[in-house]
Structure formats: C-alpha cells, structure tokens
C-alpha cells in the first residue's frame, strides 16, 4: 500500500494497477483497524468481519474480498 502523487504516477511507475483509495479512506481504515491493537481484549478479525470494515468505508468489489 503506497502513496502516489496521483493515479497518473501509478501508470508511469509501471507497477501493476490494483485499486485506489483516498487518504481519507485510508485513515478511516487504519484507525478502525489499529486503534485498539494494544488492548488486551483485541483479537484478529475474521475474514467476514474484515470485509464488513472494507464495505463500511466504501471498498467494494472482488478486489476487497477475503472469502
């Protein structure tokens, strides 16, 4: 997961094109994913739970499927 200047810079880099998200979506995902990582009650999400998180921030489609 890399931060590029723009989608055009991904094209120019020659890297295989995958999926994009805005920094705001990335922050929401990171905050949801990691805010409680140092809590003793934390447990790893199941694939279904992770897909729910992706969907909540607008990440839909086969690229974001884990199951």
């Amino acid at each position: 997961m890399l931060l590029f200047r723009s989608e055009e810079h991904v094209d120019r880099s020659g890297k295989p094109k995958g999926a994009f998200m805005t920094p705001a979506q990335m922050w929401r995902l990171a905050d949801t994913w990691y805010h409680d990582r140092d809590d003793s009650a934390w447990r790893r999400r199941s694939a279904d739970e992770a897909e729910d998180v992706f969907e909540q921030i607008g990440l839909k489609g086969d690229f974001w499927r884990l199951t």
Partner: protein, 145 residues
C-alpha cells in the same frame, strides 16, 4: 501468555521506537527465552506479527510497526517510528491517540508526500493510495504487499 507478549512488544516499541527482540521481552516479563520465541512464532503464524526469517528472536513487523527502516516515517507523541506501508503508518498514528504525521514519497517521482492527523481527524493530505495486490493475496507475501 500470547496477549502479554503482544502487548509488551507494542508498548516497548512505542516507548523506544525499536521493535524488541525476544530476549528483551523475556527479561521484561521474566519468562524463559524459548517461551517468548515460541510466542513470537505463534503470533507470526496467526498473522498478528511477522517473524524475521531464520531468527526466532526477531520480528520483521510488530504490526503496525516495522522493525526495519521503510519509506513510511511516522512522527507521533514525541516519537519516531517506521510503518510497513501507508496503512500501517496511519495505524501507528491511530494507536498513538490520533495525533501525528506520516512522511513518505511518491514511488514514481520521489516527490515528498505527507499526511497529518490531529485530534483523530485527517487534517492535511495529498496524493492517492494504491493497493497493488488484491486482499485475498495480501498474506501470500506480506513483505511485498
């Protein structure tokens, strides 16, 4: 025991900026080294952390922290850290009370790019995040991902 080790690793990384070795955690928790090495292995197998290949005392990633320098430098709560990717770099900021910044650069043109979070909100950003690998394949080669 896995919970104690996981939390001790994260707390020590937050305090020092360095991902601790199994020896350091064994000393801190007063546990046998082999027991902490076993915990590292189990945390790696369950994709909580990522072990350093060939060294049972080291982690490559204590997610969201990287044990080695990366292009994702985080400044938060007075400390400096490395994230494994932009997701994890922002995850470090989240873990550190939602106050901090991420400095990286465009992989194409090398222009510096930064993100800043304050009071739990993304207040300054630029660029676009690119995921090159579909979610289902992330753990096939997590270092590449």
């Amino acid at each position: 025991m896995l919970v104690r080790v996981r939390i001790a690793v994260l707390e020590r990384t937050i305090a020092s900026g360095q991902v601790p070795t199994a020896g350091e955690i064994a000393a801190e928790l007063d546990l046998p080294l082999a027991m902490v090495q076993e915990a590292y292995a189990r945390l790696g197998e369950s994709h909580v952390f990522v072990c350093e290949p060939g060294d049972p005392s080291r982690l490559r990633m204590a997610n969201p922290f990287s044990a080695v320098p990366t292009p994702f430098k985080v400044s938060a709560r007075g400390g400096s850290y490395y994230g494994n990717c932009v997701w994890d770099a922002l995850g470090i900021v989240s873990l550190l009370a939602g106050e901090g910044s991420v400095a990286t650069s465009c992989p194409d043109c090398s222009e510096p790019l930064s993100l800043r979070v304050s009071d739990g909100r993304l207040v300054a950003s630029e660029g676009v995040v690119h995921f090159g690998v579909p979610a289902r394949q992330w753990w096939d080669d997590i270092v590449f991902t």
